[in-house]
């Protein structure tokens, strides 16, 4: 692997060797397209080159068919063997120069330059292979899978960021309508804004931990601190339609409660804050979860996002498309789209569905024998398995497992439209649209319905501080399913934001220590590359090592680069 191409974009072809370049300039793409007729692709299998479907290729020179790798010369279609010891293909290339250097591996449909002795790549050839593969497995033999991506992904035009500063008139208005925060007599070591302890109101550390993470979720924080949801205006609107005297009839607005917490936490007051109003409003919203018992932090997170969404949605008149994130700030920040492909193992027909998601819940792999010992610093090549050679579970490994093709059991046969019967099938998940902020939830609490008991999985999970989600995108997964060919799959829209930025940075970790029924949640926050531990009312500074060694339960990652979309509507001033 050339070291200078450390971060080459997906699917960029390397420079062709001189022989391939010559061949192309002489013959164009015709020979490659002509090969299409000889491409035989099995459903779920890879493409091979055969003149007749039943042909057994042999080397024209020595008649070997089984032991040596066979290559067909693209120019004259004669087949020759090639190995490092003896190569009739190379001899052929040398004997009829120029023009016969390029051959194709009959079993793998890969181009090979016999003169350079190396595998080479060509866009048109790959396109031909992909077309053959999709034709073999699609309904009615049409050339491309007819799966329209969800409507809301017709991208809006991306615009450049324009920095803004207030002009004197605006400055005056701002000054008149606000009062500056006092820094007070804190020492100038300048502790970050927004760091404030939250009082435990009685087994509410599950709520405090998630609130701390949300208070420092950059897009969410910016939204509320920019006064995008003004609780006074919202309550006025609310009250307008109801009898104000009976306060209890007012529907609670969790967004207003969040706004209040943001104001309190970023006010500069460092004494711990009691999120009592929030708890009350949340219990009004989530009646089934309201009890003085330790709750699950993840359940609370989902319930909260749902609460913000529900209230906002009821106020709007037109229903929003799912996953578009246009409905409310909660979805704007956290909502992504998952793609699920179910492939018939008999004919290769694939059925695709898209579902929105606000987080991803990952399974830790089932218990294996042997404990995860702390490994030596030399770790072997991290393989694709969930556990690397040291036996440690990793977040990336969990994601690998999540996006791996999974064979559905014979009791879950899927009705194949092409075969018209129920067939065994493969299911594969991938990420179609990345959210602004990813929340990864590790399923550490196992509930067994049959035995009516629950237990906690304490196993350590390694999570990176920087995460590249590119390998888990639908475009990558789809590409690898077709043998990593260079081809513009219909999913790859040129304007897709995924292509530019799939890199994420960790900013908050919610951890759980202790037993299932007697445990404690704590959040670690990363502010200006410094880590802080938020343990209810106690905010302390900790080293990076503590965080890396902690037992992660929910990890929050934010996109490294954010882009602005052209606004569809003008904001009223």
């Amino acid at each position: 692997m050339s070291s200078k191409n450390n971060h080459r974009r997906d699917g960029q072809i390397p420079q062709p060797c001189s022989h391939l370049a010559d061949f192309r300039s002489r013959n164009g793409h015709k020979p490659f397209r002509a090969l299409q007729e000889c491409l035989r692709a099995k459903p779920l299998g890879r493409a091979a080159i055969r003149r007749d479907p039943d042909e057994v290729p042999r080397c024209s020179a020595c008649s070997h068919s089984a032991t040596h790798r066979l290559y067909a010369c693209v120019a004259c279609a004669s087949v020759f063997c090639h190995s490092s010891q003896s190569s009739h293909a190379a001899i052929h290339a040398e004997s009829i120069t120029p023009g016969h250097e390029i051959a194709v591996d009959v079993d793998r449909a890969e181009l090979f330059c016999c003169a350079c002795g190396d595998q080479v790549y060509d866009r048109d050839f790959d396109a031909a292979v992909v077309l053959a593969q999709t034709a073999a497995s699609t309904l009615g033999g049409s050339t491309l899978p007819p799966v329209p991506p969800p409507e809301n992904l017709r991208k809006r035009r991306r615009v450049d960021y324009r920095p803004w500063t207030p002009d004197p008139r605006e400055r005056f208005l701002m000054g008149r309508g606000s009062s500056p925060l006092q820094i007070g007599d804190e020492d100038p070591s300048c502790l970050p804004w927004g760091l404030r302890g939250l009082n435990n109101l009685g087994n509410t550390c599950f709520m405090n931990s998630v609130l701390q993470a949300l208070l420092h979720t950059p897009p969410l924080r910016n939204y509320f601190l920019s006064d995008r949801h003004n609780r006074y205006l919202c309550q006025q609107k609310n009250a307008a339609g109801h009898d104000i005297s009976n306060k209890k009839n007012l529907r609670p607005c969790l967004a207003c409660e969040m706004d209040a917490i943001f104001s309190a936490v970023f006010s500069g007051d460092r004494r711990p804050y009691s999120p009592a109003n929030f708890l009350y409003s949340w219990w009004l919203h989530a009646a089934n979860l309201a009890s003085y018992q330790q709750q699950d932090a993840h359940e609370f997170f989902i319930s909260m996002l749902d609460g913000i969404h529900e209230k906002v949605e009821k106020d709007q008149f037109k229903p929003q498309r799912q996953g578009s994130g246009d409905c409310c700030i909660a979805h704007r920040v956290f909502s992504g789209i998952l793609r699920s492909d179910v492939t018939c193992t008999a004919c290769g027909f694939t059925s695709t569905t898209y579902d929105p998601c606000v987080d991803i819940s990952l399974d830790l792999e089932p218990n294996q024998k042997g404990s995860a010992k702390i490994a030596s610093s030399k770790s072997l090549h991290a393989c694709n398995g969930e556990r690397d050679s040291c036996g440690i579970s990793t977040l990336v490994g969990c994601l690998d497992r999540y996006t791996r093709p999974e064979r559905l059991g014979s009791d879950q046969k899927f009705f194949c439209q092409q075969c018209q019967v129920r067939q065994e099938s493969l299911k594969q998940m991938s990420i179609r649209k990345l959210p602004l902020v990813f929340c990864f939830h590790i399923k550490r609490f196992e509930h067994s319905v049959t035995r009516n008991m629950s237990k906690k999985v304490d196993r350590y999970l390694q999570f990176p501080f920087s995460l590249d989600m590119a390998p888990f995108l639908s475009s990558s997964i789809l590409r690898s399913r077709f043998g990593n060919r260079i081809f513009a799959f219909d999913d790859d829209e040129p304007d897709t934001s995924n292509e530019l930025s799939s890199e994420f940075e960790l900013f908050a970790v919610v951890t759980h220590t202790g037993r299932l029924d007697a445990g404690h949640y704590v959040t670690y926050l990363r502010l200006s590359n410094q880590w802080y531990k938020c343990d209810d009312a106690w905010i302390t500074q900790v080293s990076e090592n503590i965080v890396r060694a902690a037992q992660g339960y929910m990890m929050f990652y934010v996109q490294k680069m954010l882009y602005y979309k052209a606004s569809e509507k003008l904001l009223s001033s």
Binding site: M1, R8, R9, D10, G11, Q12, P14, T67, R69, S83, D105, R108, Q119, L191, G197, N199, N200, L201, G202, N203, T204, K248, R270, P272, S274, A276, L279, Y280, W283, A287, A290, S291, Y292, I374, A375, S377, A382, C390, V396, Q462, F463, P464, S466, A470, R479, G483, N484, I486, Y532, D535, D536, W538, I539, Q541, S543, E544, N545, V547, R548, A549
Partner: protein
């Protein structure tokens, strides 16, 4: 053990080794070809970064597990970064937004649960004997028995079999003496 048999056996084993070697070669080249494509097209994951993260986390776990380190992980808090200390149970006092009483922060959730009539304990309590019900309702007149969620358990509360609703009704009922 005649000579031709030996020859046959060795020829067989030679042939099978030959085929096995061919199959093995084929598999190896398959994998190599696949990896070659992934590497050349820049589709491979940045393994160096992943390995670095793994190394850092392993190192971190070793350092945290080492008792000679400052014991940051499990030490009792002395002061937080703002120089404050906090009691085990939060002692800020504020008014309950449901009933108006002054409650201590650390005991707010259990209070609110009963106050709003939610939670297992609150519901269970209502099915106890009438004495308990009598004691509760006669003790504090400021506690409103009415809440938006009273319907679910008001039937249980009814001492005399009347479907009770508001606190006013109860003060007029005669309770059973025990």
């Amino acid at each position: 053990m005649s000579a031709p048999n030996d020859d046959n056996a060795s020829a067989h084993s030679q042939l099978s080794s030959h085929f096995f070697a061919g199959l093995l070669d084929s598999i190896i080249v398959d994998v190599a070809s696949e990896c070659h494509r992934i590497a050349r097209l820049g589709l491979d994951r940045n393994l160096e970064e992943e390995e670095e993260e793994l190394r850092l986390s392993t190192q971190a776990r070793v350092m945290v597990a080492d008792p000679s380190n400052s014991g940051e992980a499990n030490s009792k808090y002395v002061v937080d970064i703002f120089g404050q200390t906090h009691p085990a149970i939060a002692n800020e006092i504020f008014d309950c937004m449901n009933c108006g009483r002054a409650i201590m922060a650390g005991r707010f959730a259990p209070h609110l649960e009963k106050c709003m009539g939610k939670g297992r304990k609150a519901r269970l309590k209502t099915t106890r004997s009438s004495t308990a019900a009598q004691n509760r309702y006669s003790r504090s007149s400021s506690v409103s028995a009415y809440s938006p969620y009273s319907n679910s358990h008001s039937v249980n509360q009814a001492v005399n079999g009347t479907p009770g609703v508001t606190g006013e009704d109860y003060t007029e009922c005669t309770f059973e003496e025990t």
